[in-house]
Symmetry: C2
């Protein structure tokens, strides 16, 4: 029975997710332990018309070994063939699905300074290809259970039961039920999400103000042309796709370098296999100036010190505390889910397509206008049941969130 | 306990197998279902001094899907990045381990004509890189259990028990016991194998004659400088390694185009996921002129029609019917094992390093001398308990095998 549901889910990812086009190549990035699901997914991708399906396998245990045994120089090396592969991708624009299933804490104990240096060395080489592809291809981040991840979420259960339980949670979060057509369910969902973003876009706030008892006291300016987005989006070529499954957020790109105050995390953050817990960041003149974490401080340092842009913000996202995923009452230790149970912001790179008229602007024009640039884009959760968010426009206040829920 | 044995086996493969050198890259080619063993192997490779360990994952179920859904043109395409990768390999000469674990019959039903065409189209592109690496790097073919393979061998057992049983058989065949040092056991084995080849090399036979009641009646000439090899060998750079684990064969490269008579297969042959059973091949003037198979005829056609060289032979190998692997009494449906339980020959490409003085000759000179060239190299088993092999030198007969066992 679970196999039938998994097949339904696979079909959803290739159709309502990346919306694979006839003859288009699909690249799937997944952990080796996920291979039985990848077999289903590949079959569904070909059935949906994919011209080729290429799998890029990872394995977190092997990543640990590589990081432990190899030097920064060896780890940072981008092989000529890797660059050739990226060049080909940036020209041919395959659709891409990344399937999260890693242990949220699986790289604990790995030297964070080393990880940061490797990212910093590889980024300048990879960046031109990433930028060339920006907004041009369909991509999707979705999840499937990994054994260690499932055990982390349900430590009281045997592994097989924990995996089963996590499958059920993912199906529920992604609107896959025994009797429905999930592709149709997502069409309806995308319609509702678009309505929400339309209401916010009509307000044209100058800045948002966040406050709660946890200690968040924060103001962040928007760009005059900041656009609130939600649910699916379109490639520049006009192909509609859903980049995240699940998704509950209405989000935009703020004005870089124009925020101040304290943001206190309301949930743990798993970043590249390490959990960061009990942390806050203080911003002044738009930049992170002080921060601390009860657990994983070194990883937080690593993120915020990646480059100049990592000190600034790239996303504001609004999610009510009673979102469907929030109502599941689960802590996933996985941003893809936890960000959809809580208001959040993103450290680092902004979305260039959350700007009115972005289709007709160059990347440079968008950055000049106030979209932040960085090698990192890391969401962290700040929503609480007492969070208030006020939108200010020409000195006039409009309640956006009251008690963690929509007030607009 | 099995985990401890697996680790011992992994250590054997990287040390006595490819004999990884300090700082050298190791490439491992394996099926995704093997990932738990690959984690052990990677750890052992780094401990043995590998500078980098790269895994190239395959998945037979995905191969089926690719072959079914994609055109010959799409399947044959060698991406520029694939070529860049091979170029890098041919220059940097990493060690390579291929771990067999596939279902011997897992690609049954796939169009064999399509498979052949894909091989034919890819080969001319890959060939220069393969030739450039020939005899220059350490390589190893070894095996680990795959679920479908284990069930094929032990159909009466539950999957987990079948896998366990196949592990035990592999450990035994590869001299890994609970108490021994398998690396030392292989040193001793290599010494004994070398002695056997020395005896044969002293004979300088003009040709070998094979006969048994199954219908084999066959004569095959050697080159004047054909060299019998066995066990480990050396790269041109002087690194000793064992290219097959297990191995029981003493083998050489015959003179191409100089054989005649019938060879009858004594065991099924699994080639690229398809079983070929109950077959024979008739040779005249050194070339296959007629053949038939009770099962898998299309796959046999595909092999023999790959190119001109596929009509000729590239290897003669001698294995007594009482070899340690033969005594296991198992049919592995896997050439790596079955070839070590039976005398065999290889269709196609010959080994250039089974020629006296090959170190100082160009590839062209070696081919001119009589080493066969082909895009395929496919062993098939002809040994039986009544097989006699006679070595002829200047009209004088010397019994080499009598009743399937050494007579020399």
């Amino acid at each position: 029975m679970n196999k039938t549901m998994q097949r339904k889910y696979a079909r959803l990812l290739v159709r309502a997710g990346v919306n694979i086009q006839k003859g288009q190549t699909l690249i799937v990035r997944a952990q080796t332990e996920s291979y039985p699901f990848i077999e289903l997914l590949t079959d569904e991708a070909y059935k949906a018309g994919a011209g080729d399906v290429q799998i890029e396998w990872s394995n977190q245990t092997l990543s640990r070994l590589h990081y432990r045994h190899r030097s920064v120089t060896a780890l940072s090396r981008v092989h000529p063939w890797e660059e050739a592969k990226m060049k080909e991708e940036s020209e041919q624009l395959p659709a891409a699905i990344r399937l999260v299933s890693e242990d949220p804490d699986g790289l604990r104990g790995i030297n964070q300074e080393k990880l940061k240096k490797v990212r910093q060395k590889r980024y300048p080489i990879l960046r031109p290809y990433q930028e060339q592809m920006e907004n041009k291809y369909q991509w999707l981040v979705a999840a499937i259970p990994g054994k260690a991840w499932a055990k982390k979420m349900f430590p009281g259960l045997r592994t097989s039961a924990a995996v089963e339980k996590l499958w059920e949670a993912i199906f529920e979060a992604c609107l896959v039920t025994k009797d429905n057509d999930p592709v149709a369910a997502w069409e309806e969902k995308d319609r509702l999400m678009e309505e929400k973003s339309r209401v916010l876009n009509a307000c044209r706030f100058d800045y948002l103000e966040y406050k709660n008892a946890l200690g968040t006291d924060f103001r962040c300016h928007l760009m005059p042309r900041s656009l609130w987005c939600a649910g699916g989006e379109k490639t520049l070529g006009g192909v509609f796709f859903n980049p995240n499954m699940p998704t509950e957020e209405v989000f935009t790109t703020p004005m870089k370098g124009k925020c101040e105050g304290r943001l206190v995390a309301s949930m743990p953050l798993s970043y590249q296999g390490v959990l960061i817990e009990g942390f806050y960041i203080d911003y002044k003149d738009g930049k992170a100036v002080a921060w601390d974490a009860k657990v994983g401080k070194e990883a937080l340092d690593g993120i915020l010190q990646s480059d100049e842009g990592a000190k600034m913000l790239g996303e504001l996202a609004l999610v009510p505390v009673n979102s469907p995923i929030s109502r599941q009452g689960l802590l996933y230790y996985c941003t893809l889910f936890d960000e959809n149970a809580s208001c959040h912001v993103a450290i680092g790179r902004g979305y260039t397509n959350c700007v009115e008229g972005f289709e007709d602007m160059t990347r440079e024009e968008l950055l000049d206008m106030g979209v932040n640039d960085s090698q990192v884009h890391v969401d962290f959760m700040i929503g609480t049941p007492d969070l208030t968010i006020t939108g200010w426009k020409d000195g006039k206040a409009t309640p956006v969130f009251v008690n963690g829920d929509w007030a607009i």
